[in-house]
């Protein structure tokens, strides 16, 4: 009896959601459906902090994947899949390259020059275009400069 109740409830929820999306699609176009799906995905991440993991991120659709990667963190993703850096520069940091489905990701790891209150140095991962091959080139690109131009005298 309890199983029957659950099946009925699931069917009703499915029909209501499908109808809501269908009606929204008819009146406001299909874009609103994608937007609704994305908002539901955001809500799912917000309510369940442990929902995301590296293997789930690998099967998401592109828009959700980018959002999920930012929320999950490139550092955790790289650590969990043990991705090795493509290029390392003592001054400018690490450059990582990896694929998710058919999309190429190139990410540079930069460290703040000034320490935090607890004497740790915060780390940032910045996505850069795929043609970039060196960490120095990647950091220079983030400042709209070439490798030759980017050589700051003082960094804090």
């Amino acid at each position: 009896m309890y199983v029957l109740y659950l099946i009925t409830l699931a069917t009703v929820v499915f029909v209501v959601f499908s109808l809501t999306h269908a009606i929204a699609a008819i009146f406001f176009g299909t874009d609103i459906v994608l937007w609704l799906q994305f908002q539901m995905f955001r809500l799912r991440i917000w309510t369940r902090p442990n929902y995301l993991n590296a293997s789930l991120i690998r099967v998401l659709e592109p828009a959700q994947r980018d959002y999920a990667l930012e929320r999950f963190g490139y550092d955790r993703y790289i650590q969990s899949l043990q991705i090795k850096p493509d290029n390392y520069d003592e001054r400018y940091g690490y450059l990582y390259k990896f694929n998710i489905l058919n999309e190429r990701y190139t990410v540079v790891r930069v460290i703040n020059a000034s320490p935090e209150d607890d004497n740790s140095y915060s780390v940032h991962y910045l996505r850069v275009p795929n043609h970039i091959r060196f960490a120095h080139e990647a950091v220079a690109w983030t400042f709209h400069l070439t490798t030759k131009e980017y050589d700051p005298d003082i960094e804090t």
Partner: protein, 135 residues
């Protein structure tokens, strides 16, 4: 038409760009690059409570809940003028009469000598829309 990948184009660019190197200072995601002169077509920007604010951090729900102040890169000195180039939207600053200190809540300050500088904010690549790097 021959296709040249971007790194090849970069390699054959004229070298005069780097021949006479001008001073550059980086504070977090802000880069100050010294220039010879201000752009011809420019508009002076207003100061906010006596501060020339170059960049502000994003307002987040977490920050509001924890009552964290919004961070910014700024000059508090009165001898700093703030310009935006018409057309390109590039930001320039002009420092007159001695150095001015570039400040931020999470970074060490930089004493910037007098001169004209272009302000470049760090960005990151995105397939649809380029974005600024998080502060």
């Amino acid at each position: 038409m021959m296709y040249l990948p971007p790194h090849k184009i970069q390699a054959i660019l004229p070298t005069y760009l780097s021949s006479n190197k001008l001073a550059t200072y980086r504070q977090g995601d802000i880069l100050l690059m010294q220039k010879d002169s201000l752009p011809q077509w420019r508009r002076q920007l207003n100061t906010i409570r006596g501060r020339v604010i170059l960049a502000k951090s994003a307002i987040t729900i977490k920050g509001l809940l924890h009552r964290q102040p919004q961070h910014c890169h700024y000059f508090a000195a009165p001898n700093v003028q703030h310009y935006r180039e018409c057309g390109t939207g590039n930001i320039f600053i002009a420092i007159e009469n001695g150095p001015a200190e570039l400040l931020h809540q999470e970074h060490y300050g930089i004493s910037v000598p007098a001169g004209i500088y272009r302000v470049i904010r760090q960005r990151q690549w995105h397939p649809k829309t380029p974005r600024f790097a998080p502060d």
